[in-house]
């Protein structure tokens, strides 16, 4: 296959060629009301061929690689217009393997056995409408006309569960967990039990009578706001296009000293770790914000060249994307008197350029003399750039929500309104 691809590339009339291959085997088990509902297995292969003729770029995609696919990409490039800049493709470099990314192929019985451990004991009025377990394995390969040819195997495990308690005012809570390896059954069972426990904590919510000064965003809420209203400003392409609020603020202290953020493609077992990025550049760790000071943006090969920087290993193959986002843990949070927001709904309405957000809570608790009192949903609003400069405490424990690894954080300056 390797020989075939390079022979075809040699015959290709384009100046530069990059081919991204991926094969995915995925299994999904679905439980409804704790009864096994569906089990499916899917294999899919995907090939993306990118060619450059001068500064003209064309992309064609298909399920299998062929000379015809390259010809189509060339035809598209010819119909295209000059890119604003194009400096070529990266030269081959050795990419060091990352540990903990692959857990091997699993049989149907093994997957079903893991999935069955999501079942837990429920009391009257408690239900688990849906629980899903997914396990996928991936083969990635990047080839380019300068000789890059890298392959990697990965796996991804994900569980999600929704619990519903049918009180007069029903309460529901959903959570998910993902990792590279399938955890032991006892841990999967603990995950379901934790979702139920957190749902129980939200029963019989009361209306908030006094607006607290401090709001603690738990990991699900904070990760959504970071993703929808903040992170795009650290993307080098947005900086180049002046679509980033931080475009000319490198080196400035913009946030609280307690706030540090890294992008890492090399985190052992990280959800978005890989030894090389979509262009075949070895992944690395990039410190983007250190103790509140803006230090760096993320780049692919060509954006970096244009800004006289080096690629940070963040190409997705067709753009720039984050690997794992790591937010530093702190010394803990003084919770008494604070409002805890577990999750939010409506993060898609955030403005990623002004970083403003106005979202509804999904699960709120008021900490009153050590007691966690459930609160009816509230609206919270503010600007990420302002609240990240108003941090009053950072949690000691890190958990991942997808590729964002973070603690819970306490803020001042988030406006809270009853609905």
């Amino acid at each position: 296959m390797t020989k075939d691809v390079f022979q075809i590339l040699k015959r290709c009339s384009a100046d530069f060629v990059q081919i991204n291959f991926s094969n995915v085997h995925s299994s999904k088990v679905l439980f409804e009301q704790q009864k096994l509902k569906d089990f499916s297995k899917v294999f899919s292969s995907h090939v993306s061929a990118s060619v450059w003729i001068g500064k003209k770029h064309g992309v064609a995609v298909a399920n299998v690689f062929s000379e015809k696919l390259l010809k189509k990409a060339i035809k598209i490039a010819k119909a295209s217009e000059d890119l604003e800049f194009f400096y070529g493709l990266p030269q081959p470099k050795k990419a060091l393997p990352i540990k903990g990314l692959y857990d091997g192929e699993k049989t149907e019985e093994e997957i079903l056995n893991s999935a069955e451990s999501m079942i837990i004991d429920l009391k009257k009025k408690e239900t688990m409408p849906e629980a899903v377990l997914e396990y996928s394995t991936f083969d990635h390969r990047v080839v380019n006309s300068l000789g890059v040819d890298l392959t990697e195997k990965e796996s991804l495990f994900n569980v999600s569960a929704e619990c519903l308690i049918k009180d007069k005012t029903p309460v529901s809570h959903t959570d998910s967990y993902s990792s590279r390896k399938i955890p032991p059954n006892s841990e999967i069972n603990c995950f379901s039990a934790r979702v139920l426990e957190e749902t129980r904590e939200l029963r019989n919510p009361l209306r908030l009578t006094k607006i607290p000064e401090t709001v603690i965003l738990e990991q699900r809420a904070l990760s959504q706001l970071l993703d929808s209203a903040f992170l795009s400003n650290l993307n080098g392409l947005n900086v180049l296009k002046k679509r980033s609020i931080f475009a000319d603020k490198l080196g400035e202290k913009l946030f609280s000293e307690d706030f540090s953020l890294k992008d890492s493609g090399i985190l052992e077992g990280g959800i978005e770790s890989r030894s090389f990025d979509g262009e075949g550049v070895p992944c690395q760790e990039n410190s983007l914000i250190e103790k509140g000071v803006l230090k760096k943006f993320i780049y692919d090969y060509n954006t970096a060249k244009h800004l006289h920087k080096n690629s940070t290993g963040n190409s997705t193959g067709r753009g720039i994307g984050f690997n794992n986002i790591l937010i530093s843990k702190g010394r803990g949070i003084e919770e008494d008197g604070a409002l805890v927001i577990k999750d939010v709904i409506g993060a898609h309405t955030c403005n990623e350029i002004t970083t403003s957000f106005s979202v509804k809570s999904l699960g709120a608790l008021l900490i009153d003399k050590g007691e966690r009192k459930p609160i009816k949903d509230v609206m919270i609003n503010g600007k990420m750039v302002e609240i990240l400069n108003n941090i009053t405490g950072v949690g000691k424990d890190i958990r991942n929500v997808g590729n964002i690894y973070l603690p819970k954080i306490a803020f001042k300056g988030i406006r809270v309104n009853n609905l």
Partner: protein, 455 residues
């Protein structure tokens, strides 16, 4: 294509209770322009096959992008093994009354979109005229088209459907004195390129509105009487009511409509439908047969204020003992069909838009939509409006920034007081559920809602 006879022979050797197979081939192209600069241009082809096998009450499903004979044997084997793993006790799902269908259906445009030059499509986008001046800082246009050929095969049926679709979305961003405003529009139709002729007007409107709203004051939250435009009504009936009416949500206890069939949920003037045949099969969510081979039909979810029906797949209709509605859809053959909406809408009423505005002492007109989220289990929802206007003493006074509507589905249904006497344009969308995305739409009238929560 696949060898159908080979497939039938291989599956029938296993003596299963029922099976079906979906094969799909898709050709698509896409172009993105940013400030008249070409950002992305590409084409793609994909194909795949998915096979469901039923043994007793156990459904197996396996799928692949490979369709050679060896791969077909492997998929059949996997699907069969899964069906045996899921089979519990002696209970059987009765598939006897599924009708046999042998047909070919097409929804096509005037010109074959696969044969149109990408350059012609690009030139059409470049011809749209605008200037980046003053507060207008960026304009993007994103175009997608698709031809999908689908084949459904079961022991009884062979259904071929071919559908062309075109989709165009644009966005205008304006900045001034630290404020920003983005206005987005979209045009999407089943059929050909000729459906995109009217986009210049929509682009002009987005530019005008982005400037106008930049200088507007912010909306004040609270309880108000509001008029929701047809597009926002469409978002409400899709997200808040439609998802809760999907019978799989009802069966797993995750719907606020569970146990309410036959109950009065809204005023007698309110009827809400899901209809894949809307606009003579040209609605964005239209189809002739669903992905279980069931003929598309108009279904009243709410009829004259009373909850009339849920939306069903074969499995949910059998479990609940209710009629088939033809609502099982899959993103493509690599996904299992699940209960989905098509075109969802409120039946038009008697009032003109102006008459509805005249009834409001103080409130808002919320127009278009900017995303939304809902929890079908408890009926909670929050939707953003693209544009909002302040209404005072029966007149629209002017634009206000931000704005959306939040609350509970069952509460809001009761608060619909008046319904406009005409339908808006289609509200095309890509509806996501269980990791699958399908086209959904619907043409809706504006409605007047009493005491809605503005967020």
């Amino acid at each position: 294509m696949i060898d159908i006879d080979f497939l039938r022979r291989e599956i029938e050797k296993l003596r299963v209770d029922y099976w079906d197979c979906r094969y799909s081939e898709t050709h698509h192209s896409g172009i993105t322009l940013w400030n008249k600069e070409l950002k992305q241009i590409g084409e793609g082809d994909s194909s795949g096959i998915g096979i469901r096998i039923l043994n007793g009450n156990g459904w197996g499903f396996a799928a692949s992008t490979r369709t050679d004979k060896k791969s077909l044997r492997e998929i059949i084997k996997q699907s069969y093994r899964i069906s045996m793993l899921l089979k519990k006790g002696n209970e059987k799902i009765n598939m006897n009354n599924i009708k046999s269908v042998k047909t070919k259906k097409q929804i096509r445009g005037k010109r074959d979109i696969r044969k149109m030059d990408l350059e012609d499509k690009k030139d059409f986008l470049l011809e749209q005229s605008y200037e980046l001046k003053g507060s207008i800082k960026s304009v993007y246009l994103r175009y997608l088209d698709r031809r999908e050929r689908k084949m459904f095969i079961s022991p009884l049926s062979e259904i071929y459907q071919e559908t062309d679709s075109v989709f165009l979305t644009g966005g205008v961003s304006a900045f001034e004195s630290g404020k920003s405003e983005e206005k987005v529009f979209r045009v999407a139709k089943l059929g050909g390129f000729e459906n995109l002729k009217q986009i210049q007007g929509k682009l002009d409107n987005a530019i005008l509105n982005s400037k106008k709203f930049l200088r507007a004051t912010s909306i004040k939250g609270g309880k108000y009487d509001v008029v929701l435009s047809g597009e926002l009504t469409g978002l409400f009936v899709h997200e808040a009511l439609g998802h809760a009416s999907e019978a799989d949500a009802v069966l797993k206890g995750a719907s606020c409509l569970k146990g309410l069939l036959g109950k009065k949920l809204a005023g007698s003037s309110v009827s809400i439908l899901d209809d894949p045949t809307q606009d003579n099969f040209k609605g964005w969510g239209s189809y002739y047969y669903d992905d279980e081979g069931i003929k598309a039909r108009k279904n009243y979810i709410i009829k004259k204020g009373i909850l009339n029906s849920h939306l069903h797949s074969i499995e949910t209709s059998k479990k609940l003992g209710m009629p088939l509605t033809g609502n099982a859809r899959a993103e493509n053959s690599l996904h299992r069909p699940i209960v989905r909406m098509s075109n969802t809408y409120v039946e038009k009423g008697c009032e003109s838009f102006e008459e509805m505005v005249e009834r409001i002492k103080e409130g808002y007109f919320l127009k278009g939509f900017k995303g939304g989220e809902t929890n079908p289990a408890d009926g909670g929802f929050q939707f953003g409006a693209a544009d909002a206007y302040y209404i005072r003493r029966g007149r629209i006074v002017g634009p206000v920034r931000g704005g959306g509507i939040g609350g509970n589905t069952l509460e809001l249904l009761k608060r619909i007081m008046l319904i406009e006497n005409k339908y808006s344009e289609d509200s095309p969308g890509f509806c996501g559920k269980d990791g699958q995305s399908v086209y959904t739409g619907g043409r809706n009238p504006a409605v007047l809602v009493k005491g809605a929560t503005i967020v």
